[in-house]
Every structure is written in structure tokens, then in C-alpha cells.
Amino acid sequence: MSTLTTSFSSNASLRGFLHGLPGVDKVGADARAAMLGTRSIKTTAKRQAIDLAISMVDLTTLEGADTPGKVRAMCAKAMHPDPTNPDVPRVAAVCVYPDLVAEAVQAVKGSGVKVASVATAFPSGRSSLEVKVTDTALAVAAGADEVDMVIDRGAFLAGDYLKVFEEIVAIKAACGDAHLKVILETGELATYDNVRRASWLAMLAGGDFIKTSTGKVQPAATLPVTLIMLEAVRDFLATHGRKVGVKPAGGIRTTKDAIKMLVLVNETTGDGWLDPDWFRLGASSVLNDLLMQRQKQDTGRYSGPDYFTLD
């Protein structure tokens, strides 16, 4: 990699860089992810993994039917995932639509739980840059600590990398102090090579986190895609000296899924990323499964969904 410049003035130079990245060995990536997924994590190690995973959850509600009441209830759960057990760590953040940010900020005030907001015409990203910047600015003004933006997949797939790059730069500027997570929507990127290119594009443009998916498109956060993104942040730190976080989101439903992700992090980037500041799990239903497994370890009996709140 001879060109390590972070300023790109033309589509051609950006394309040259992204297409100069080594191709992804699809069979190899799938096999490695599958192999790491078979690791057996039991007893005390599992307990640690469960608590770490809980502390990494971005508890998310992104429905058209979201109400202020639902957001408040979710925030209460974020601060005290299991109200009967104060040992359970709080989650990393709650993630809501921009118009509900103020409600969430109010609800989690002083707890250390961060408020993330999706923005930029989520989930499709099909709008003008002005609207996307305004969307972001409103979320930040309402008190969002983190902004989850979507990239323009249409432009990316059409090869207009500069447009995607400049959009991320503009949104990053609109974020101010808020952390920017760039959603690649890997389910729409078609190839692993594109996932690698989009990861680098988002990091070069200044994203603080790269995130797999909106959760609205299947497949979402698969293990191989997360593996490729983790490799990208590891290599980016080595070549550019800046550490970027990773957030798989969507489709992580069970404790086993979550622990597989943690194994992947540990084996790919090392434990430097095993921290809520650098790795998040975008999910909602996985939290109850983590709590059920935790209770199973405490009581020795299988628990049930009746004993935990919905969202």
C-alpha cells in the first residue's frame, strides 16, 4: 500500500485506492468465521462474556410505532437491564430516531448510558445532502452523543465513491463532538470486496465507528462480514494510526450469537477492541437472552421470557 493519503480530490484517486485494496478470499473468510464460531465458551469465561456483551449492547428501537413511553421504558431497561439484580452492568447506549432523542437524553441523564440517534434519512439514505445534514444537526442539538448515519449505497454501487466520501465528511462536520457511526448496510453491498472497500472509505472519511447494517435489510450482521470489518479497523490502525470501532447490528438474537462476535473480535483485533468504547452490539432481543443465560448460571434453572421486560 503505497498511497496512504487521507485527502482525496477526485473519484479516480479514491477508486484507485479502494480498488487497490487486496481482494477478500470469500471461501477463506466464511470458513474462518465458521471455525471461530465453534469455540466453546463455558462457565466463568461465559459469565464474563455475558457481562461484557451486555455492557456492549446498543439497545435499539427503530420502529414507526415508537412512542415516548416506549423509549422511556427502554431507557429504564438500559440503565437496569435486570431490576432484580444490581450486579448486571448497564448497556452501552440506547439508539432511537432523531425526534425521540430528547426523550431518551432526559431518561438516561446521569446514568452513563449514551444516547445514539440514527440520522441521514435512515434507513434508505435516499435524500439530499441538505436534508441529511439537517437531520444530523437536529439529533445532535437534541443531545445525541452518537450519530448512526447510513451511506448512500446507490452512489457506492454506481462507483461514485467521492460522493459517499464527501457525504460522510459533511455529516462528520455536522456531528461536532458526537461520535459518528457509519452504517455500510452490508446486506446491500453484494460482495465482501465491497464491504472491505466501504469500510476503508468510511474510515478514511473520518467515521469513528463502522457499523454493519440498519437492521432493516437481510442479511444483516453476519460473522464473515464482521470479520472483514474487524480486519479493516485493525489494518487502518496500523497504517493510519487511528483506532476505529466496529458495531455489528441486526440479526444478533442469542447469547451464542453475541459470544461468537466476541470471539471474532478477540481473534482478529485482539482485546484492544473488547471494550464498549470500541465494539458494540446493535440489538434489542439479544439482551433478554443474555439476561436469561445469566440467570440460568445464578439459579441453575432455565429461565423464561416471562421474567424479563419486553424492550
Binding site: 432455565y302 429461565s303 423464561g304 421474567y307
Partner: protein, 288 residues
């Protein structure tokens, strides 16, 4: 020309409408009443039991929400499917129990009849267990029956088909879903019955069948917080007692094993159905 090799059936578990192998990868040898090798059956683990409970829980809203008439039709359909496999079940009972072919045929007939009998109860049990209660006020006071939820069933070691039908049918006819621990000694008819269930309009997960050691699996089901009732018919007195103690944690409904051997050919009565029913009472103003 070489002699044809017969194709042997792999007996697996029945969970959520599918036939998975045990998560543990274990199996055990099943022998006939005379001690000859019959087949290898899956030996379910506690995690299979957990998966089965999840499947039963998932199936519960749909099954309990179906009309009683519809549930009756589905169970009647199971009887139809069973009738068409009469010869297969007869052979399996002969192998498992060592009874004569004639006797085994009678047992299969009785099992089919038992299903039809329970199918008829689906829309009638409410009439004998529900009531309009006289109250001192201008109200209709009505009690109606509701299913308990997910019920674990320890199937009897004897009566590989009739006994099994006699414990499953009364649990599901009222709208419960169940996880059945089949007879360890004679599990093969239970998996063949699962094949019948899988092809008879019964939604996946309403009946889940685990084969293996009841001493190993039943306590996990008895302690499981998402199981609402447990039928200990097939449990030994010691196992029944420990399961009942575990079941107390979340106030499961418990059906204790009977003291002596059970005559499965006798009239079963309604006790097995009513053991896993809840009563909901509503007050409604009579108006002017």
C-alpha cells in the same frame, strides 16, 4: 447380483416440527422385549429439553388461540393418519413389548379410538368445566377454561403407543403445548408417532418428543421457569418427588404418578384434561 441392503431409519428427536439429532450427539441402543437390537435412538440432553421448551412456547399462542373446533379437527386428523399406519405401529409394538400381533393390533385400534374420543372433547370440556355462577349483584359471572401453557410430560414406560397417546392427547386438546420425554425402554413408537404428528396439520412445536433418560431430562423440565405444568405419569416415585420439589419454584401444576400400574384400555375420564386447565372468571354488568 449382490443382495439388497435394507435402508435403516435413523430415529431422531422431534422438536418444533423438525427432526434434529440430539445437540449432545449421543445415542443409545434400543432393544426388543427379547433383547435383540432394534435401533439406535437419540439420547436427548438438557439443551435439547431447553430447545423443545422454546419451541413449545413459540407454538403456544397459535395453538391456544385456535378455536376449540379447529383443535378437535386437527386431533381427529392425527387419528386418521395413525389409522393409515396401523401395520407399522402394530409391528413396532410387537417388537417393543413382546405382545402378540393380535394384541398389538388391538392396542393400535385403542390408540386411534382414544384420539377420536379426545378430539370430541375439545369443544365440550369448556361446557363441563366452565360455569355461570350465581352472584349477589346485577352481574353475569362467568367462568371459562383456559390452557395452562407449556406442559412437560414424562410418558409412561409401558404402553408404548396407547400410553403415550393417552398422556399427550388430553394435554394438547385443551390448547396446551407439550414437551414429552418418551419411554426410555421403548422410544421407537414415539418417534414414529412424531412422524404422524408432523404430517397431520398439527402446528410444529405443539408436541415435542425427546427420547433418552427421564432421570436426566425431567428435572431440567421440572425446574424450567418457562414450563407451566408437568405430568409425572411415567416417573419413578423418587424422580416424581424431586421433580415436584423443583416444580414448586414457579408453581407449576403437577400431575402425580398413579400408585399402581395403569390400565390404559380403561375409560380415561376427564382428569387428565382438567389437570392442565386454568379457570378464568369474568364479571359483566347485566345492564337495565
Amino acid at each position: 447380483m449382490s443382495e439388497r441392503l435394507s435402508v435403516r431409519k435413523t430415529y431422531k428427536l422431534f422438536i418444533g416440527g423438525a427432526f434434529p439429532r440430539s445437540e449432545s450427539g449421543r445415542s443409545y441402543v434400543v432393544t426388543s422385549a427379547k433383547g435383540e437390537f432394534l435401533a439406535n435412538a437419540s439420547k436427548a440432553s438438557r439443551k435439547d429439553a431447553r430447545d423443545a421448551v422454546s419451541a413449545a412456547r413459540k407454538a403456544f399462542p397459535g395453538w391456544s388461540g385456535a378455536t376449540a373446533y379447529n383443535r378437535g379437527q386437527v386431533i381427529y386428523r392425527v387419528a386418521e393418519m395413525l389409522e393409515s399406519r396401523r401395520a407399522q405401529f402394530t409391528a413396532e409394538i410387537v417388537a417393543a413389548d413382546g405382545v402378540s400381533g393380535k394384541k398389538a393390533g388391538e392396542l393400535v385400534d385403542a390408540a386411534v379410538d382414544r384420539l377420536v374420543w379426545y378430539a370430541g372433547w375439545s369443544d365440550k370440556i369448556g361446557a363441563i368445566r366452565g360455569s355461570a355462577n350465581p352472584v349477589a349483584g346485577p352481574y353475569f359471572n362467568l367462568s371459562s377454561t383456559e390452557p395452562t401453557g407449556v406442559v412437560a410430560v414424562v410418558a409412561p414406560p409401558s404402553g408404548p403407543l396407547l400410553g403415550l397417546i393417552s398422556v399427550i392427547a388430553p394435554v394438547i386438546v385443551t390448547g396446551n403445548t407439550c414437551v414429552v420425554v418418551a419411554s426410555e425402554r421403548a422410544p421407537l413408537p414415539s418417534i414414529t408417532l412424531a412422524e404422524v404428528l408432523a404430517t397431520s396439520d398439527l402446528p410444529g412445536g405443539v408436541v415435542n418428543v425427546l427420547t433418552g433418560n427421564a432421570e436426566e431430562i425431567a428435572p431440567w423440565l421440572a425446574g424450567h421457569m418457562d414450563v407451566n405444568g408437568i405430568d409425572l405419569t411415567g416417573a419413578t416415585p423418587e424422580l416424581a418427588q424431586s421433580c415436584e420439589e423443583l416444580a414448586a419454584e414457579n408453581l407449576k401444576r403437577v400431575l402425580r404418578p398413579e400408585a399402581g400400574p395403569i390400565d390404559w384400555l380403561a375409560d380415561p375420564g376427564t382428569e387428565r384434561m382438567t389437570a392442565f386447565l386454568e379457570t378464568k372468571t369474568v364479571w359483566h354488568p347485566i345492564g337495565v
